[in-house]
Symmetry: C2
Subunit: 295 residues, 2 copies
């Protein structure tokens, strides 16, 4: 990248609008600013406090309103997925022919469907950066969030060549690897690889809190194992409820599989079939090899 000019490292984009200046939007803003200090980052957010925070943390250069996006080179839509499907068509109505609009939501079928026949469909790229933490809001944003993470891009062929190019330059320059999938496959697989993890973690947290609520100090017994499995139960319900709603069918399927496996494991213990209990765990140890190389 030595020969690349700074503006090329973000695809020559200068006026950047981030709608939803939280963990993902904020971290993207930090990266764009680092790649191109000349870029002007405008923040748009329903949450006035978050917007002030983003400004004082220098994540954004200025606050803006949705009407201002007419001069945008890039619009990033990083809000809950139920709001995205409402806002995206309106955004496309108001941009220039050269504006790139990306979303970063955890579901891809509904958002692709809602703009399938929009005259500006070519200006939109559906993406899912698989990167996050259990924290939210601009304070949670950090520069390294996307390093060595995967970005799933859907229906790339429906986006204008030049805008595909700009988006991919940006993602590669912030350290991401790109994978292409269709929206339905994305939503089916991400239900297993991400949505189920969140529910398993939330329900683990609930189970333990319900049981132990009257026990003082019992959480002194929590070790790093519990912490690790329950970490995602700190995630934002505002963000996750619409994800489960949009991906309802797939999420229900993963939950049925998971409950079936848990029930079977419980029955093995009840029947004192500890050879089978051992075997189940031994087979699943295989996850070690599978996960190797993710980080």
């Amino acid at each position: 990248m030595g020969e690349m000019s700074q503006s090329n490292r973000v695809g020559g984009m200068k006026n950047i609008y981030i709608i939803g200046i939280g963990l993902i939007g904020g971290s993207l803003a930090l990266n764009i600013k680092k790649l191109n200090p000349d870029a002007v980052i405008y923040g748009i957010d329903n949450n006035a406090e978050h917007l002030e925070e983003a400004l004082s943390l220098n994540i954004i250069d200025a606050k803006a309103k949705i009407d201002n996006i007419v001069n945008a080179d890039l619009v990033v839509l990083s809000i809950p997925v139920d709001s995205s499907v409402i806002e995206l068509p309106k955004i496309l109505d108001n941009i220039s022919d050269d504006t790139l609009v990306i979303d970063v939501g955890s579901t891809k079928t509904d958002i692709c469907n809602v703009v399938a026949n929009h005259p500006k469909r070519r200006n939109f790229l559906a993406t899912h950066p698989i990167s996050g933490t259990e924290f939210s809001g601009p304070k949670a944003a950090f520069l390294e969030l996307f390093q060595n993470k995967t970005n799933i891009i859907c229906e790339v062929e429906k986006t204008a060549f030049k805008l595909q190019q700009k988006a991919i330059e940006l993602f590669v320059n912030i350290g991401m690897r790109i994978r292409y999938m269709n929206p339905e496959a994305h939503d089916k697989h991400i239900a297993y690889m991400s949505h189920l993890s969140h529910i398993s973690s939330f329900m683990l947290g609930k189970t333990v809190i319900d049981k132990e609520k009257n026990e003082r100090d019992i959480f002194d017994m929590a070790g790093s194992g519990f912490e690790s499995t329950v970490r995602l139960a700190k995630s934002s319900p505002e963000m996750w409820t619409p994800i489960f709603k949009q991906n309802k069918t797939n999420v229900i399927e993963t939950l049925e599989d998971y409950i079936k496996n848990l029930t079977q494991f419980k029955e093995l213990i009840q029947r004192d079939d500890f050879d089978a209990v051992f075997k189940e765990m031994k087979n699943t140890n295989h996850i070690k090899q599978i996960l190797k190389g993710i980080n």
Copy 2:
């Protein structure tokens, strides 16, 4: 601790026998050696390869056999809990009146019961250092494992005063906080705080592997969330099977609660009751405050 002599920092104990030189046993060995370089650490392990590894990693000073423990000041029993209940009475048969024997297993009722009437009961202290990783064997051992972690001690009143004192000196000097419980309460609560996490993680791993086994490269979609919830599925089945066996009744109860909560969450999604889905997650977010201060 400036005025403490080195030998006092491990309760004046010199001949140390570690039976089972894995993650916990090995990490204890490293700590004892650091606190008292004059201590001689003997390793005993069924696994000849682990024993060689422990020796070449300088975790132990020498290999030993179970018959050698007659001169032991401290015997640490850090083997799977089904073996512990067999070995502990034999160990107590063979030690001197001044020897301290501790176990570090994840279940406490059976081990306390098995020596309840042993003439050397006063030489034994039942402990559970709540510290571990998903890795096992001597290579997994490290000095900092116990820093700021909790050690649960059971039936402390049944151990001789002087030996209580030596054990507590050791645990405090390796950075642990001590909590006292009875074995039944320990096993009931640890089922929720630890054993359930392991099963939820193993079954999450199984569910995803079963579903995705024919999908090439699908694990590129795994993010840090999946990694975190599935981490414990890398744990040793050799260690965990006997834990679930000894703690069968409590583990089944936790699994029934967990399955009930998952089923209810699934039904809320099926009924499109997303207000309730939101509320469930919001209530569980409370885990943030609960876990604060664990690390």
